[in-house]
Point group: C2
Chain length 340, copies 2
DNA sequence: CTTGAAAATGTTACCGATAAAAATTACAAT
DNA sequence: ATTGTAATTTTTATCGGTAACATTTTCAAG
C-alpha cells in the first residue's frame, strides 16, 4: 500500500531503526546517513503511519473538544482559538464532540473520545452530581481542561471568565440607567449560569434593591428557550422594566418575543445579554452585552492541555486562567448611543 | 495501563482470538462463550484500543471535514448535519480542519488528515489548477466527498446546490422589483462564485438587460471583504440601485458599509445575499437571501462518504446530490414585507 | 599496533488488535 | 467404535512503528 520505514531501510541497506531515528531527528544518527534517509523519504513521499506510532507511543496528537453548541458563534470562536494554537508549533489535530447541552450525550462523547485522543477540552454541561465521572478520569491519567464552565469538585486546569463579575456588570449597568425592577432570565445548572445569577444578586444588594425571586425566571441557554421564557412572562404579565439574560442567545430569543408582542426593546424593556455573540452589533436592536476574549480562551485552553500532555514531570500545577469581562453598551439596554 | 483482550483471555482461559471474536459479534463463537466474555468485558470495563485496531484493519472510524470558515454559521450548520449522521448508526467521529479560504492551508490540512481518517469531506477552496492533487488522491484510494463546492476535473461524490439557479433567483427577484442597474459582488474562484455569477448573467439576458462588466466588482466570500468592496464602490461612485452579493457575509459587510455612508439599505440600494445565514432575519435590515438546507447537505455528505468507505464492491457510482434553492424575501431587497 | 571510549548502527521484543491457517472438539450417521 | 463434517477454538504471523539493549565501527591516545 503506502511506503513504510522498512521500504526505505531496504532501499538504503539500513535497519528500520536507523531510518526511524533519522526521521525523528534523533541525534544518534550520523548527519550523512540522516540526509540520505531524508532524501529518499522525500522522494517516495514517506508518511509515517499514525496508528502504528500511536500504538507504541500511546500518543495520538489528537485533541478532543466537547462543546454544547457548535452553532453558537461563541463556541465556534473558542474552537477557532483552540485549533489555531493546536496547529501552531505542536502539531495536534482537533476531534470535535457535540453535547447539545445534554448530560448523557456529553458523557457518551467523553467516553468515546478519551481513548483516541491525548486529552480533552470540555465545556461541561453536566451538573456537580456527575463530577465523579471526571474525577475518576483524572485519577486514571486522562488529561482534561475545562473551558467556559467549571465543575464543582473537579480539580483540573481551566479557562473561564469571572462570571460573577459578568452578572454584576450587566445588572449594575441597568441600575445606573435608573431601573429598579430588573428581571433575570436564568440559565441551567452550569457554573456560568449560577455565577451570573450570583452577580445579579450582588449588584442588587449593593444598590439597596431588594431581591425578588419572582423576577428571576427559568430560561436556559438557547435562543428558543429565551423566546419561550419571555413569551410566557408577557402572558403572565407583571413585566420588569429591564432584564439581564444569562447569555446572548437567550437575550435574542427574548427580544424576538418582545417584538412579536409589540414591545419596544430598549424602551419598554431594556435587555442585556452576555458573551458578545457574532452579529450582536448588527441586530435590529443592537445588543448590549458583556464580553471577554473567546480566542484567548481557546488558545489558553489548548496551551494548558498541551502543557499537561507534554509534562514529563508528574503533573504541573493545575493552572486556572481567568479572563476579565467588560461591558459593551449598544442599544438594547436603552442607552441611546453606540459603542465606538 | 488499561485492560486488553489478553487480560480477558487469561482470566477465562481462552485465547485472545476467541475473545476478539466474541466482542466483535463474530458468529463463529459459541453463544455461551460469548456471554462469558461479554460479562467479564463489562465488569472490567474493557475498551478496545483503537490504534491497534486501526493498525491492522486500516480503519479508524474517523472522518475528516475541511471547511473554509468555522465561524460562518453556514458551515457550522453543515458540520452539525455531518456529525449528526456520522454518530447515528455507524459510529464515526469527526476531525475538523479549517482552510480559512486559503489554498495552501487547505492542502496542508488534507495531507495531514487523509492518513489518519477513513475519508474526507471537503468544501474546496482551491482553484481548478490544483485539481490533480485531489485526482491523485482518489486514484490512490482516498475517499473524498465534496460539499458546497465542486472542483472541475475531479470526479467524486458531491453534495451541492444549484448555484446557477441561486444567482438567477436572486437577480430575477431584483429585476421583478423594477431594478435595471443591478450590481454583483463577485466571490472567489470557487465553483459557487462562478456559478452564481453565471446565474446573474442569465437572469439579465433573459430579461433583456445588457450585461455591464463595470457592475461586477471583486469582493470575496468574507464579511470584511464585502465591507471593503462596497466602501470602495461608494468612494468610486456610479452605484447600482440593487446588488446581488455572492453570499450572506459579503452582503452583510456591504450593508454595513452602506449604513456607515448614510445609505439606506433596501431603499437607496437593494441587497440580496445567499446562504441564509443565522440571524439574517434579525438584522437591523433583515436580509433577503437564497436558501437551501444545510443540515440535509451535511447529512447527505456523511451518507455518501460512509457508503463509499464501506462499499466492499469496488466503488459505487459517484453519486451527486443536488439541493434546490429557494428565495427568502425579507427587507434588504426593498420589498416591504416579511416572510411568514 | 593496541586499546578504549564514543559514535553509529543493528537486533530483538513488543504495543494490542485481527487475518489466515491449523487444530481440536462435538456430534450425527454409519 | 469409526468416520466425517460442522462447530469451535487455538496458533502463528502480521500491521508499522519505537524502546531497550547489543553490537559494530570509528578514531584519538598510548
Amino acid at each position: 500500500m503506502s511506503v513504510t520505514l522498512a521500504d526505505i531501510a531496504r532501499e538504503l541497506g539500513l535497519s528500520k531503526m536507523t531510518v526511524s531515528r533519522a526521521i525523528n531527528n534523533d541525534p544518534l544518527v550520523n548527519e550523512k546517513t540522516r540526509e540520505r534517509v531524508l532524501a529518499v523519504s522525500r522522494r517516495v513521499n514517506y508518511q509515517p503511519n499514525h496508528f502504528a506510532r500511536a500504538l507504541v507511543t500511546n500518543r495520538s496528537f489528537l485533541i478532543g473538544v466537547i462543546v454544547p453548541d457548535l452553532m453558537h458563534s461563541y463556541f465556534a470562536e473558542i474552537m477557532h482559538g483552540i485549533s489555531g494554537y493546536a496547529r501552531g508549533g505542536s502539531n495536534y489535530q482537533i476531534v470535535i464532540g457535540n453535547s447539545e447541552e445534554n448530560i448523557s450525550r456529553e458523557i457518551d462523547e467523553v467516553e468515546a473520545l478519551r481513548w483516541r485522543t491525548d486529552g480533552l477540552i470540555i465545556a461541561p454541561t453536566v451538573p456537580a452530581s456527575k463530577a465523579d465521572v471526571y474525577r475518576k478520569m483524572l485519577e486514571r491519567g486522562t488529561k482534561l481542561v475545562f473551558i467556559d464552565r467549571t465543575l464543582e469538585g473537579v480539580d483540573c486546569p481551566m479557562v473561564t471568565t469571572d462570571n460573577v463579575e459578568v452578572g454584576r456588570l450587566a445588572t449594575e449597568h441597568l441600575i445606573n440607567l435608573g431601573h429598579k425592577k430588573i428581571g433575570h432570565l436564568r440559565g441551567t445548572s452550569t457554573s456560568t449560569s449560577r455565577e451570573r445569577l450570583e452577580g445579579y444578586k450582588q449588584a442588587l444588594s449593593k444598590n439597596d434593591i431588594a431581591f425578588d425571586k419572582k423576577l428571576v425566571r427559568d430560561c436556559g441557554l438557547m435562543e428558543s428557550e429565551g423566546y419561550r421564557a419571555m413569551r410566557l412572562w408577557i402572558e403572565d404579565g407583571d413585566l420588569p422594566t429591564a432584564t439581564f439574560a444569562v447569555n446572548d442567545p437567550a437575550a435574542i430569543g427574548a427580544m424576538q418575543a418582545m417584538s412579536e408582542a409589540g414591545l419596544k426593546v430598549g424602551k419598554d424593556i431594556a435587555v442585556v445579554g452576555s458573551g458578545n455573540i457574532h452579529y450582536g452589533d448588527m441586530l435590529s436592536v443592537p445588543l448590549t452585552t458583556v464580553s471577554w476574549s473567546r480566542s484567548e480562551m481557546g488558545q489558553a485552553a489548548a496551551r494548558l492541555l498541551i502543557q499537561s500532555i507534554e509534562a514529563n514531570n508528574g503533573d504541573a500545577a493545575n493552572q486556572k486562567v481567568l479572563l476579565s469581562p467588560t461591558l459593551i453598551v449598544r442599544e438594547s439596554c436603552g442607552a441611546n448611543f453606540v459603542n465606538p
